[in-house]
């Protein structure tokens, strides 16, 4: 080869080498990006700040309540822990700071919407009117709304409540159902709406209300806290079946996918059933009482086929 040709070959070789290197780099970057699309929504917020803020309930036995060390424990608390583990894995943040914020049934939606909390898995019913403001994950529990009454009160079903005083939780779906029933059937009930589950039960136990309407699992939890759980009975045909789901901000598809995956995996693999067993079929703090609340068939069907439908 002539000198100029060999120089051109060398230059071509260099150029080829550079372009191969460039292609390799670009390919590498493309591969890295293909490994994970850009984060948005809550996951982006968590990744950027390194902190995730989780809402929990303080007195919803056995879903989310304080143990003796003032730490939230319960069925929902365990589900929350599974979600937090998955967030740590997915965002590769082993040092993720978790802040737990106590919330109530009255402020949970506002705190979620204004960004104070990032998500909450507790006892929030997934229904259509809330879907206008927030999104929900796959359901992780199904309840029926029933009554709790003293055994000797003679209250067997909702019709027995005529003219009596009934207590419900403020802002819950039970309150809407009860007041609707009161207006439509002219039952003349006095409806007391209490701030939280413990205050509802206090109103019942001191004799101010004849019955308490709430989700049956929460009723079992409240009953387990008293001195004589045998004095109380859960009665009444369920006025509605409701599903609990984790609540997240509206339109946050990445967060929803993460939550759905965690819950679906827990339900189909048997992890959720084990968690259910721990909190509903075995003695639980604070009084080591057994709620003795076997899983309903509708819930078994949900665990077999996880979904986020409003009606189970």
């Amino acid at each position: 080869m002539s000198l100029s040709t060999s120089i051109r070959c060398k230059r071509a070789g260099h150029a080829l080498g550079h372009s191969v290197l460039a292609a390799a780099l670009l390919g590498g970057i493309a591969a890295a990006q293909a490994a994970g699309p850009a984060l948005d929504g809550t996951l982006k917020k968590i990744k950027d700040s390194g902190v995730v803020v989780v809402g929990f309930r303080e007195a919803s036995i056995p879903f989310s309540y304080y143990n003796d060390d003032k730490q939230p424990i319960g069925y929902s608390a365990d589900i929350t822990r599974l979600v937090l583990d998955q967030i740590k894995n997915k965002l590769e943040l082993p040092g993720l700071q978790v802040r737990q914020l106590p919330i109530t049934s009255q402020n949970r939606i506002s705190l979620l919407q204004n960004g104070t909390i990032d998500f909450e898995c507790n006892t929030t019913t997934h229904n259509e009117s809330r879907e206008k403001q927030v999104d929900f994950s796959n359901s992780f529990f199904i309840v029926g709304t029933r009554l709790l009454a003293k055994k000797d009160s003679g209250i067997k079903d909702f019709d027995d409540l005529k003219g009596n005083t009934v207590v419900v939780g403020a802002g819950t779906t039970s309150e809407i159902l009860l007041r609707k029933m009161n207006a439509e059937k002219n039952m003349g009930m006095n409806v007391i709406s209490a701030k939280d589950h413990s205050e509802s039960f206090l109103t019942l136990s001191t004799g101010r209300a004849k019955a308490m309407m709430m989700d049956d699992a929460l009723l079992a939890g409240e009953r387990a806290k008293t001195r004589d759980p045998k004095d109380y009975v859960i009665t009444g045909t369920p006025q509605s079946f409701e599903v609990y789901g984790c609540m997240l901000r509206k339109g946050d598809s990445q967060m929803k996918t993460l939550l759905d995956e965690v819950i679906a995996k827990a339900e189909t693999s048997g992890a959720a059933a084990k968690i259910y067993d721990t909190w509903f079929m075995k003695p639980i703090p604070p009084k080591q009482l057994n709620l003795d609340f076997p899983m309903s068939d509708t819930m078994k069907a949900l665990f077999a086929k996880p979904n986020d439908r409003v009606t189970p």
Partner: protein, 245 residues
């Protein structure tokens, strides 16, 4: 902020099936708060005046009772007093009376308990203001009254208290305004007054900003009415030469 404003929600019919709009709920709460404020204020004035006079009356036993009353009711937080009146009192009274109390219509229970709790608490503060007002009077007023042949009661009624009430009108106005805002604590025991209705609205409409803005304006209106009322009274009872007039 991705919040969707919807002022029209105030005119929507309530989701619980009762025949009302959300705005009507707020108006209902406003009148409950107004009624609670007026009833509690009346009780507070009566109780405060009685104990305030008792603390300055030349009688050791009466002074001891007055001091005990003020110590208890001024130092215990108001919300705790609400809970004690509502939850504890029916339990420690004899069973028959306690059960009768608990059988009364819930709304009546809430209202009466709130009036008692607010009234007794504010009464302790009015008692202290009255005592300060009486002790601020020149000693000569009481002595001159007694020298003229008035009994102690007449001296208080005709000479001292008329002056004292005019003197303590500014703190009394403050107390009246404070009691209208402390009435919000009644929502913790379940009375459906103005702030509780705001929470109900938030629960059922998930539109917190509209609810709380309207309720804030309602409280401002209530306070404005109270201020104008006290200013009118001040004008009516002012004496030339007293209190800067």
């Amino acid at each position: 902020m991705s919040y969707k404003w919807n002022w029209g929600v105030l005119l929507d019919p309530v989701v619980t099936g009762e025949n009302a709009t959300y705005l009507e709920w707020i108006v209902h709460g406003f009148f409950i708060t107004l009624g609670l404020t007026l009833c509690a204020w009346t009780l507070a004035l009566v109780v405060g005046t009685v104990f305030g006079v008792m603390r300055t009356w030349p009688n050791r036993f009466g002074q001891a009772i007055g001091t005990a009353y003020v110590s208890i009711f001024r130092n215990v937080p108001l919300i705790v007093q609400f809970f004690v009146w509502y939850f504890v009192v029916p339990e420690i009274l004899p069973a028959a009376i306690g059960d009768w109390i608990k059988g009364v219509k819930p709304n009546v229970q809430f209202f009466v308990v709130s009036v008692l709790a607010l009234g007794m608490y504010t009464g302790s503060r009015i008692c202290e203001q009255l005592r300060a007002g009486i002790q601020a009077l020149p000693r000569g007023q009481r002595q001159a009254g007694l020298a003229m042949g008035f009994s102690t009661a007449q001296t208080y009624g005709h000479v001292m208290l008329p002056q004292v009430f005019r003197h303590i009108m500014p703190p009394l106005t403050s107390e009246f305004l404070i009691i209208s805002k402390n009435s919000a604590i009644a929502s913790t025991i379940g009375l459906l007054e103005l702030s509780r209705q705001a929470q109900q609205l938030v629960d059922f409409t998930a539109q917190p900003y509209e609810s709380f803005i309207v309720v804030t304006l309602a409280y401002v209106l209530l306070n404005f009415l109270i201020l104008r009322f006290m200013a009118w009274i001040n004008n009516r009872i002012s004496l030339p030469g007293l209190m800067g007039h």
